[in-house]
Symmetry: C2
Subunit: 622 residues, 2 copies
Amino acid sequence: MSYGYHNKILRVNLSTGEIGVEQPGERFFRTYFGGWGMIAFYLLKELPPRSDPLGAENVLVFAPGIITGAPVGGSGRSAVGAKSPLTGGFGAAEVGGFWGAELKRAGWDGIVVTGQAEKPVYLYIKDDQVEIREATHLWGKETAEVDNTLKEELGDGRIRVAQCGIAGEHLVRYACVISDVNRAAGRTGLGAVMGAKRLKAIAVRGSGRTEVADQDRVRQVAEWLRDHFKETWALGLHENGTDHGLIELNDAGGLPTRNFQEGSFEGALKITGQTMTETILVGRDTCYACPITCKRKVQATGRYQVTPVYGGPEYESVAALGSCCGIDDLEAIAFGNQLCNTYGLDTISTGVTIAWAMECFERGLLTPADTGGLELRFGNTAAMLTLIEQIARRQGFGHLLAEGSLRAARQIGRDTERYAMQIKGQEIPMHEPRIKFALSLGYATSPTGADHMHNIHDDSYTSEEGIEGIRSLGILEPLPFDYLGPEKVRLTKYHIDWQVLCNCLCQCMFMPYRREQVLDIVQGVSGWDCSLFELMKVGERAMAMARVFNYREGLTPQDDVAHWRFSTPFESGPKKGVLVPAGDIARAIELYYGMQSWDDQTGAPTAAKLHELGIGWVAALL
Amino acid sequence: MSYGYHNKILRVNLSTGEIGVEQPGERFFRTYFGGWGMIAFYLLKELPPRSDPLGAENVLVFAPGIITGAPVGGSGRSAVGAKSPLTGGFGAAEVGGFWGAELKRAGWDGIVVTGQAEKPVYLYIKDDQVEIREATHLWGKETAEVDNTLKEELGDGRIRVAQCGIAGEHLVRYACVISDVNRAAGRTGLGAVMGAKRLKAIAVRGSGRTEVADQDRVRQVAEWLRDHFKETWALGLHENGTDHGLIELNDAGGLPTRNFQEGSFEGALKITGQTMTETILVGRDTCYACPITCKRKVQATGRYQVTPVYGGPEYESVAALGSCCGIDDLEAIAFGNQLCNTYGLDTISTGVTIAWAMECFERGLLTPADTGGLELRFGNTAAMLTLIEQIARRQGFGHLLAEGSLRAARQIGRDTERYAMQIKGQEIPMHEPRIKFALSLGYATSPTGADHMHNIHDDSYTSEEGIEGIRSLGILEPLPFDYLGPEKVRLTKYHIDWQVLCNCLCQCMFMPYRREQVLDIVQGVSGWDCSLFELMKVGERAMAMARVFNYREGLTPQDDVAHWRFSTPFESGPKKGVLVPAGDIARAIELYYGMQSWDDQTGAPTAAKLHELGIGWVAALL
């Protein structure tokens, strides 16, 4: 008997209609763990190099991890991956909720989707029963309607649905995969990959469970979390959601404001998690097995009709659609968030692409002639909401914005690319390097482009308390936020390797666990005699594979760049004058390359490093 | 309060007579742990580059580890280090017994000896009381007499004495440091460094202890060992000592015989641990806190007067003075071992240097004119014993052999260097690469030259049972002994990093602990929240520092070579025809360099690797 995995990967070829089962065996699961590792494995093994990410060749992987579905907080997540239509490189996004756990309950450790359907289809999975079904009636429909329709026509209200939304259908390059209507595998445009494959949705229902080797051990962690999370920083998540920290970021001078031109926002108090709690909050929601309930249910019935069904905005969404666009109307932001979930748009790329257009407009680089008459000034709430609608359906000016800020800027020209806040084509999330210098390094070198899901929020490590969780890796001293020397680079490497591990495990980063408790979960679930050493290597391995993938797809070290804006000083606010020196970043990148054993010509890990990670077959791809 | 260390390093300058105390602080101990790490630290910090190892400049470090003296099996060891007079590079040797634990009991975490005394001296340490005392009356005396004299004149029979022996006084390049008369910090010639400094001995007595943070946790491991070691392979150690495995090596065709010309010895049965038990064994001895009692007490009163005081021969000594010299007389071997302990000679280098001379003699490259009339044929027991006497006092032909086989061969010329079984000038220990291919790699790249104390005996990893202990590092499958491809190189790296960690901790390699039990000991003793990841980094760090030291002293990648003999086939025996292909070794070394991030021009780790290991100050030495 296996624990943590069923040894069953579902294979679906949408071109031929073939459905198959792959049983990769224990070594596969112990080497890759799921999530990023599993995605990178299939992309490297099966995707023909230089394929069109929106073509039939792309390989779309739904990848929970070995702990997904285990009865312990943080195990509700799963990952989705493919070659990214946004970056042209490794595409992966993680998502909470219940869908991944349901897939495991149905007995599947992952789904590898290849080919392209002639007509819209959805996949229906009920335990061993798997069908490709026609979805013409779902095409063009909003996510909630799709969700409801599937539950009705399949006669099971407990079905879990992941879907691509209208934005995915229209191949918006930052369309996301939405599950349960209100959870987004947001980044790198994987909804567009679903759309390109004409795969509208995957409806899953399972009657089994994730088998756990040592129930007591897993239960101990679960009970610790339940009984003690309120004594940790997770209390803030429970009380005011992920947006709870917005005000601290603003006070620190690092709340992305008006397309990152500023770091503090005069309207910050109006859009904090605290304010959300006091105004539009009507309930708290959570993910599989998690007591923290950081998810929001919000409602508004005035100027904007916001229903609790679509969930409340996370911090990233509040800041991207709010401060980054100069908007301080929380109801409008919640409505914008609802629209994104309705259509399947990544709120970060959506907000930052709109903010780019606003900055260009204010600088006179865009005019109403470009925007279809929209006055794209910061703070123009109506324009922001209109653009979301336009982007999702590729209408009007939204057709251009649906390409993402980099491609849009390149089409427009006129020096607009300068203001596209993106790296490798992916828009920068709501974490400001000037208050967390190491982010410059992490953003620049991430294989998915600017991404916060495996990156270092190094404000965490500036205090003795902050390094508590990572000290068992040998990080003995806190470091200042504005230091980017060798010790910070080392800390960044260890932190990112760990975060990528979490993206393989599909372990939520918001759990206030010590490293050893994560090890307890992994050992308890799988029964494997892993160590933290092995876990770190799993993260390093998946990162290495993603970098080899990018190399193969034509990305180079020249794509590992920081954004110039963060090397200019804030002109106002608490961090007035602060900048991340470009020379520091360049040195940090060079050092990080060395620490990761990345070749400075190719940007890929050396063959020796790949062998050291136990993946010699990947070295053969160099 | 600190645990595992006192934060007190004793500084002794023999040139000035100054005695001082250094308090390097917690970060030092958590970064280096002791042993190799501490030695490498002081050598890199304080030894002027390219110093004469036998000059006053050499820095001699006595370095227990953070677990030395803790009440748990395997904690009886300590290390000694300096620039090696044998290799010209990093010199370090580890030793069991009680001396290291006594030093910790006296409140010291290490001793750094610099300078050179004008007249022979010894160091007397009784807790805080430290004195440099004249030792003229001890000079030229045998180890047992020195030990007894010191106990008498200091009026304390429980004093523990480490000393250099007559061989050290005579600057024999492979003189060792003997403690308790019968334990040898054998390799790399550290006894000669003591001799050169005119430091005859260090007598220690302490009334304190190694403070332990979590007594229960440490006790649990200690009790597990006591109650269960007989269910493990350590049973063989208890019953028949380290020599218990000689017969298996012989049966496998890998018992070094007649200077490694052969792998099986017709007289093997006469010199096994089993035979020792049945013939000359009169008792079992042990190290501090260890229930295994692998040490032998042997006695002979016939042709050779062997007293239990000097201890029985270990496997290395039996094979080096026995099969490697073609000698199957166990009493003679025990007597040879006693002579080595009497004079302070490393039995391995002694035996292999004599075996070299024998092979040269048999090939006609040495004649009685060279040897002072000795008929140096394999199996000539009397000649072997005579040469030990001569070497220790640098008399006759022994004066040349006291230089070690490489230097001796270079003085002799006549193609004799070809038969010197050494790497970097240090004689190869009693483990044959042709039955453990990975040893070729480990011997070639070890910073101390051919050395078994941090090397891979990869016959351990050829079975599912064999990888049990290392699987938590992610090594999932056993590998055949005669495979030297990338997966074996990876296994070798992980194994060696771990062994070097043990040489920092001063954890005995013969404990049948799982990796996690060692972690229990480290955490239990120190109270630190270490992980196995951190422990592996401690080993990698000390190795990296040793490599930088060698680079600084002028060693290059050209010194990382395998011995040609192992790439020629055995002409007979169970492994007839087996050889380690030279191309395999070259490829393995190249790959290992990459995995360790060693620069192929310098042989030293890259600056990035040193920063990743948290020792940026070492990068400044490149």
